[in-house]
Symmetry: C2
């Protein structure tokens, strides 16, 4: 700011601090504006502005013809609680959020741990696409175009873009779902979300009260169990048996399920069980959330049609995501809503974000999809990942089939294996793998066969050489 | 996709639909792969893939040496609920969200109404900056640079960017707050949010249980009352009396307040009352959310220091926003958190968005601020808005002071006036203003003098000529 402003600010703070510190006391008369202007080498107008501001704030009081006086009594007793910082009373929701600490802290610690270690670590635990093959030029040009044309779009945008996302992107997603997944949906019933977590958390809040039961697969994505905990609902863990989760007549409000390819075990849910789940939802007046987290990549056979395509009643909510196919910083997902829930979801989303937060990226993605660039990219990546997948699976079956039972579902960006041996032997393997410099993800789960432990290896971001080296180290670890 | 894939898909659907429709019944034997390949002019391998997929999904069953059979019993009774769409059981939160309908629908209807009308309408109801003077070239170059350098940043970003935002942007905001608002805060205690609504909604959820009392000013920003309703808390409406809200010894968990310039009346909260609010929060173990929604613009005198600067205890949460200063599509705000609440807020934000959704814009803004471009832009806009503000206020005082009592707080992007006359006369004015083609925002409020109605005029986005024409129409409307 300019010099006059700086002087004004200095004078303001000088007077204010003097009052706060008790150097100018209640009722004391201040110098006239003329005197102060002369001693501070500033204009009388500036002094007047400072006095006016301090008067408006209640520090000073002006009495016509008598001058300006201190009107504020410094309460030095407030100092007594200066140092201590209060502990806040949190809502029940706030307390539950606070208790999510352990997991989040653990994840952070692990992430930090990774970044510290040397580049020689082979890290199968990162769930990231191979960005070295991403068509950045095409994508960047879409972004640049949206930025350049922003001004033309502003009026349109300010009038019509609701929290559920850019209309063109919702149209492009609807077309993609029709063509690639067999889901026939109106763009009005699609909401664009921040990755899939926003949808998972909002849906749980909308459908489950504290104390209600919500079913998840065991094991499942940690974000789902966090959302259920945050809502105060009770988790029912459904067992897996190789054909996906085992349906039961749960007394529950909602169910999270990954039918195309169970996360993380890779099991595919049979058609019969799909129908059983729909019947259950009908009987129980419950909702099913289908998380189709990486259906873009399949290396053999048909894409499995989503559970959503069997849903006649509007009981299935379908989640998709672009986080496995677009650059790291693009946090976009979507949810296909039953028409009766679309408006309520829109309002829930609007409570936190009345307008889309990443409109430029949403529009760039709409153009990227409509032009066919997105599907071309998927096909290219499918070939690349297929090669990596088969190489990894072959190596694992050759070198590690004695210790792990690798699931042969030919899709997605990771390979899952159940530990065949004793739990105590697994502990030794884990320690040894760490020391070999190979990281992976791990789950333990109650199955129909009791507590089992499994590991999964994300391979998309690794080179062929890294994959080979990683498996070699895992083999060394079991041999230890 | 390629032709082989299209044929495979066609066959898959033909078989699947035949089973669903009952044309292929349970136990029926399917043609051999050889027969089907010949009649469909496709390879046997393709037919095998289709059979494998349908088998995996449970539609078919293969018996070694005997052939392939239908394994699925089409349950045509499911058709009975095909047409009706279920009504979903919602949580208590979901029901409250659904009840927000009226307000949201109203706002949308109004927005549509605007867009339909001809361009001759003078619209004082849009709360938008004057984007015709925005330095788009500078800003776009910052965006382009972040997009180009994304690849270098990815590793760093994926390791360390938490849900609370880009570290450089949080540093830049901390520096801005120190320099311009007198708030000394560590960047770790700042969270970048989606506008200010995300902060308002999350904080209410974190601090207020259903049934708890939360104080707001009357009138206040509609988003605040929506967040309180969504949390199931009870609203206490605090009166205004020309010096901002009148403190009382409320039995409440939290208070929302706009001390610098009450929204929308423009009243400034006196220092004495600020101290009274802090004492109240101390006594009641309550939290105060200070929404500093447009403090960037002040046309005379000093910027008023925020309530936060008086907070010794960590009871004040300070909200700021960039939506009044950056282009429409940039939805960025921030919240200054007491250290004891920072971690819990981060977890609450991460539940919905584990990573920042608009990282490129966050980084562009960090560079825009650090380089001084942001403050230069603010100074330029301050001069421009100052001229518009004084012109509007002068016109209103000349032409409409008989009917409205215009508040003279010399700051912000709107001018507020209380209606001086009878409520019935106001109804006639409102109808007349509509027919004159001039829109504005309106609030009614219980004050210490009873129910009063007021209007406010946002002027930033209007040209001088539009402002003059708008006031002329308002005058015609009162003369009617």
């Amino acid at each position: 700011m300019n010099r006059q402003y700086t002087k004004m600010k200095a004078l303001y703070h000088a007077v204010r601090d003097a009052i706060h510190d008790g150097n100018l006391v209640y009722g004391e008369k201040l110098p006239s504006t003329r005197e102060l202007a002369a001693s501070y080498h500033i204009s009388r107008g500036t002094v007047n502005q400072v006095y006016d501001t301090l008067t408006a704030q209640g520090y000073l009081q002006s009495e016509h013809g008598r001058g300006t006086f201190v009107a504020y009594q410094a309460d030095l007793s407030h100092e007594e609680y200066q140092v201590k910082s209060c502990t806040h009373h949190l809502s029940a929701w706030g307390n539950r959020i606070q208790q999510l600490e352990q997991q989040t802290a653990q994840q952070t610690a692990q992430a930090r741990d990774h970044s510290k270690e040397n580049s020689e670590v082979i890290d199968f635990s990162k769930y990231q696409p191979d960005l070295s093959k991403f068509p950045y030029d095409e994508w960047n040009n879409r972004l640049y175009a949206e930025i350049r044309h922003r001004e033309e779009n502003v009026i349109h945008a300010s009038a019509s873009v609701s929290s559920t996302g850019d209309p063109k992107l919702r149209e492009a997603i609807a077309a993609y779902l029709r063509r690639m997944r067999g889901i026939h949906v109106d763009a009005d019933h699609i909401a664009v979300t921040a990755g899939s977590m926003q949808a998972i958390a909002l849906l749980t809040q909308l459908l489950a009260d504290p104390g209600d039961h919500v079913v998840t697969e065991s094991p499942c994505y940690v974000g789902i169990s966090q959302a259920i905990m945050a809502a105060g609902a009770k988790l029912i863990e459904a067992n897996l048996d190789g054909q996906g989760l085992v349906p039961q007549n749960w007394d529950a409000r909602m169910l999270f399920v990954t039918p195309s390819r169970q996360f993380p075990t890779g099991e595919m849910l049979s058609l019969e069980r799909r129908q059983t789940l729909l019947d259950w939802a009908h009987r129980r007046d419950a909702m099913i959330v289908e998380d189709d987290y990486d259906s873009e990549f399949r290396y053999r056979g048909m894409h499995v049609e989503p559970l959503k395509t069997l849903d006649k009643e509007g009981r299935v909510i379908y989640l998709g995501s672009f986080t496995k196919t677009l650059p790291f910083e693009v946090r976009l997902g979507y949810v296909v809503l039953p028409p009766t829930l679309a408006d309520t979801f829109r309002k829930a989303q609007a409570l936190y974000e009345p307008r889309p937060v990443n409109l430029i990226e949403q529009r760039a993605l709409a153009a990227f999809m409509t032009s066919g660039q997105y599907e071309r990219h998927l096909r290219r990546m499918n070939r690349l990942y297929s090669r990596k997948f088969h190489m990894l699976l072959k190596l694992l079956n050759q070198q590690l089939s004695t210790w792990f039972d690798w699931v042969e579902n030919e899709a997605g960006l990771h390979v899952f294996g159940w530990w065949r041996g004793m739990p105590s032997a697994y502990e030794a393997f884990r320690a040894s793998a760490r020391s070999q410099g190979v990281h992976y993800s791990e789950v333990s789960s109650s199955t129909s066969d009791g507590i089992k432990v499994g590991i999964y290896l994300s391979f998309a971001h690794l080179s062929d050489a890294q994959i080979q080296e990683g498996v070699a180290r895992l083999q060394k670890a079991v041999m230890d």
